[in-house]
């Protein structure tokens, strides 16, 4: 276990270096003169911004020097200052937005797993029944629904038509002065649609995965043994099969992180939620390069850490790794 942990952590460094290299090459993506030429043709970026960009990234210096000075600042968590009129440090901007995005995504993740696991078990234990077929249809449609369209439809029905839910932001104006209960209720109402949209995207995939993992386990010999020794179906499914079927799901948890973070751009923009996705989108639209690059690096690091945590959970849950040499 200790060696496994150590190996896994050592692996982080080359990956982190790779992330910085790729982000760096995105900055230098423009053909010919880096950035400069593209921006000269782009009236959205003023001369002042161009100069700031040149000094910040040291675009007049040779490439390796640029890279190392940028990574050096990155290591000290200096992501530069935003190009927008407030010109605040990018790190501060990200810091105040990150909790919103993370907590929203955690709620979405809980909902996703909370629904996908029972759905998958139902579909697998009643294989080829109408229920299973219905779930399969739902899964295929779920795969194909564009999340932003779902967001629009929900907005139309619950927001515009029925008027049950607020369609933008996290709070009603003036809710600060309300009592705690009312304040939280207001917040919850604002969160319903974004959370639904955020979790819907991967719900289909997760339930399908859970179904096939469950089917896979059920066909194993030890399940037949458990049934043969007369255990009730309930014990067989929930005690013997489920625990083994859940194991691969932990890895999936890690894989779903980049999708969730990336998806936050869409629902945060549509529902006007002040999170990292919205900040990123605003950065893209106003060509606020330091913000864009900062979030790109942070997003990738978050994914890396998320994957590490998922792997560690897997190792903890799987006795073959927990007690093994690996």
């Amino acid at each position: 276990m200790k060696t496994y942990l150590l190996k896994r952590i050592l692996m982080l460094f080359p990956l982190m270096i790779g992330i910085t290299l790729i982000t760096f090459s995105v900055i230098h993506l423009a053909p010919g003169e880096p950035v400069e030429m593209q921006m000269a043709m782009n009236p959205k970026v003023g001369k002042e911004a161009r100069e700031r960009l040149t000094t910040f990234y040291g675009l007049d210096k040779p490439l390796p020097e640029q890279y190392f000075s940028w990574v050096g600042r990155l290591a000290r968590l200096d992501l530069g200052r935003s190009f927008s009129s407030d010109s605040r440090p990018v790190l501060d901007k990200i810091k105040e937005r990150l909790p919103v995005t993370i907590s929203l995504n955690v709620v979405a993740l809980l909902l996703e797993f909370g629904l996908a696991i029972p759905i998958g078990i139902l579909a697998a234990t009643r294989r080829d029944s109408w229920l299973d077929k219905g779930i399969t249809v739902f899964v295929f449609v779920g795969f194909a629904v564009p999340t932003f369209w779902l967001a629009l439809l929900l907005m139309y029905f619950f927001g515009v038509r029925l008027g049950w839910l607020p369609i933008s932001g996290l709070h009603t104006l003036g809710s600060d002065s309300w009592g705690t209960g009312r304040y939280l209720w207001d917040l919850a109402k604002h969160l319903v649609m974004p959370v639904m949209v955020a979790s819907f995207g991967s719900l289909a995939g997760l339930s399908r995965y859970m179904r096939s993992a469950m089917l896979n386990v059920i066909s194993q010999d030890y399940i037949t043994t458990a049934r043969a020794k007369g255990l009730s179906e309930r014990v067989v499914i929930y005690k013997h099969a489920l625990r083994n079927a859940l194991l691969p799901l932990i890895t999936l948890l890690g894989f779903s992180i980049p999708g969730l973070i990336g998806g936050s751009v869409i629902f945060e923009t549509i529902y006007a939620i002040p999170g990292m996705g919205q900040l990123f989108y605003q950065g893209v639209m106003s060509r606020d390069y330091p913000v864009v690059m900062g979030i790109l690096v942070i997003g990738a690091f978050l994914t890396l850490i998320g994957n590490l945590i998922a792997d560690l959970c897997y190792a903890l849950a799987d006795p073959r790794i927990r007690h093994g040499e690996g």
Binding site: A144, P258, N307
Partner: protein, 284 residues
């Protein structure tokens, strides 16, 4: 080639044919090709013809899908939009498949350091939330459909690379590869002539599913205003107006979204059908 031919006709096609959902998906995909080709002929109106008298009119006999905020016919715009999504789907996936296959073949065949470096690159690329990476790159470029296609392709090859690598690893150990090596085939010849044709079937599945993914990504980008730029109609950018006029014009949101849903569903069903038909373990 004879053997391949008989495989397609005696095993693959009969198996695919029995899968009705996959056939339905295939039919929709074909229909989309026809619509894209014939868009100018079958569209009732010019997709960019502005009509100030018919702004935001609901679906009617003249305008089946209603009109948008400039009085343009939504049905015509949706039909023309099929062209964009088809183009994006195929070009982006073409790029992704080419890169992914090459990386996978080289990585699996040579193994060792080359393999390690390339697979770490795959790991690193997978760390970036794809949507962030695409948006970040676009920030530095002018929005254009060509950039979009190339970028979606450049950020979507990792899955194919892993698949092809896994296939290559097992094919490499086959006896016929040993035989080819014994008669003095060069590495390049072995890779492209003997391994590639045998490793390609999972790529076919991944590519079909990839088209669906690329169409979804393009529509999301266009919806956010960073993809296909108006007045060129794309399903995503029609939905942008759908959002702006959501309180007055539900038809602007409904129809382009349904078009995306049906298209993506069709590609997914076809892809899954191909997978089942290729998989000898699946019995029907």
């Amino acid at each position: 080639m004879d053997l391949k031919y008989s495989y397609v006709y005696s095993i693959f096609w009969p198996r695919l044919k029995r899968n009705r959902l996959a056939l339905a998906g295939g039919a929709v995909v074909m229909a989309l090709f026809v619509i894209s080709l014939l868009a100018p002929l079958i569209s009732p109106y010019d997709p960019s013809a502005i009509n100030a008298w018919r702004v935001l009119s609901p679906p009617s006999m003249q305008h089946w899908f209603g009109t948008d905020e400039l009085g343009r016919d939504v049905l015509s715009r949706v039909l023309y939009g099929a062209r964009i999504s088809l183009k994006v789907g195929f070009v982006a996936v073409g790029i992704a498949v080419m890169i992914g296959t090459t990386v996978g073949l080289i990585s699996g065949y040579y193994s060792g350091l080359v393999d390690t470096v390339m697979m770490r690159l795959v790991d690193i690329m997978l760390c970036f939330p794809a949507f962030f990476l695409i948006l970040a790159v676009i920030t530095f470029l002018e929005p254009s459909i060509w950039y979009i296609m190339v970028i979606i392709g450049l950020t979507g090859w990792m899955g194919v690379a892993r698949l092809v690598r896994a296939e290559t690893l097992s094919i490499r150990e086959m006896e016929y590869i040993m035989a080819a090596r014994c008669i003095g085939c060069s590495n390049t010849r072995i890779i492209f002539r003997h391994i590639l044709p045998n490793a390609i079937s999972p790529v076919l599945v991944a590519a079909t599913l990839g088209v669906a993914g690329a169409i979804l990504t393009e529509s999301a980008l266009s919806f956010l205003g960073i993809g296909v730029q108006p007045p060129t109609p794309s399903w995503g950018n029609i939905l942008t107006s759908g959002k702006d006029y959501i309180e007055f014009a539900w038809w602007l949101s409904l129809f382009p979204g349904l078009a995306i849903l049906v298209t993506v569903l069709a590609y997914n069903l076809l892809g899954e059908g191909i997978r089942d038909a290729l998989d000898p373990r699946v019995k029907r």
